[in-house]
């Protein structure tokens, strides 16, 4: 059962892509998961976030070609694409999951992504499996 009506977003972020203290979460209820690299996201973690009630799940990876593990961001992007296809198959809608390359020094850009995600949730409605 929902405890409030704010859109629920779960954010997986790479420590080199985003700073949690950034004031960007207005208008939503957020859960954050900090990762050493965006490639630590896996299909099962993303699906479990939806099982736990998220209306949308975001992954913030570091800017392209700046991954300290070289291909972490590429791996993350491929896993997100795969999981989006699973979400489409389940009827959740793959658009509820997205990955962005964000710069830790540019919280405004992160804020814009959050606002756009809130708009998307308003358009799609709450997580149909919640």
């Amino acid at each position: 059962m929902k405890t409030n009506n704010k859109p629920k977003i779960t954010l997986f972020y790479c420590i080199n892509a985003f700073m949690e203290s950034a004031p960007v979460f207005e208008g939503c209820s957020i859960k954050t998961i900090k990762m050493a690299c965006s490639s630590m996201t896996k299909d099962i973690f993303l699906l479990k976030a939806f099982e736990a009630g998220a209306d949308a799940v975001l992954v913030f990876a570091c800017p392209e070609k700046q991954c300290r593990y070289v291909e972490g961001g590429i791996r993350a992007r491929k896993r997100i694409e795969w999981t989006k296809h699973l979400l489409d198959e389940t009827g959740i809608d793959g658009r509820r999951l997205a990955i962005f390359n964000t710069d830790i020094k540019d919280p405004k850009a992160a804020g814009k992504i959050i606002r756009e995600t809130i708009e998307l949730i308003n358009e799609l409605g709450p997580n149909p499996a919640a």
Partner: protein, 223 residues
Amino acid sequence: MIVGEQKPIKEIMESVAPYKRVLILGCGTCVKTCFAGGEDEVEVLASALRLAFKTKKQRSIEIEELTIERQCENEFIQEAAAGIGRNDVVLSLACGAGVQAMAERFPAAPVLPGVNTTFIGIQDRPGIFSERCSGCGDCGLARFGGICPVTRCSKKLLNGPCGGSQNGKCEVDPSIDCAWHLIIERLTELGQLDNLKTYIPPKNWQTSTSGGPRKLVREDQII
């Protein structure tokens, strides 16, 4: 190894629809390596099915997850007995042999396939698998430098290329390496090109599936 891929969620949902309690049973050998039915895939499929049933506002589904080392061998199958007893159906993520082994061992339990078994092959590199053997029952790899024309030549030619090969690729599909190009390269490297002077008569397919289901008997292993 046996290569397969998981069936679409929609098809799996339809097959488990009549049941309330489902055991998703993974296999920790071939299908694990090709990302179709190991422990990770069992976990993901369980989560996806729970989400799908809730989304479609169908009744809820109870899912138990288990992965055993091999579903095609009796000595490992027993580990699944308790889980099978607790559930209405087994959704097996093993290859077709594993699914049938489970069905034989537990005749009272419905066993459904969750994987499309595709071929005997190898992993070229992570995420890419290709067919290598059709299980013809009369292996001729010794003559062909270890490259199987029965499986890898699109026309199954046994006495040399068809003449349509271009730049090492098969005329049927340029994404396929011409098996005969590979065979000739390899035999040249091995100094065994003379192998091709021996005419190979039409293949006897009786050793393959055209003779009905096959059986292998090792008398010395039977007690």
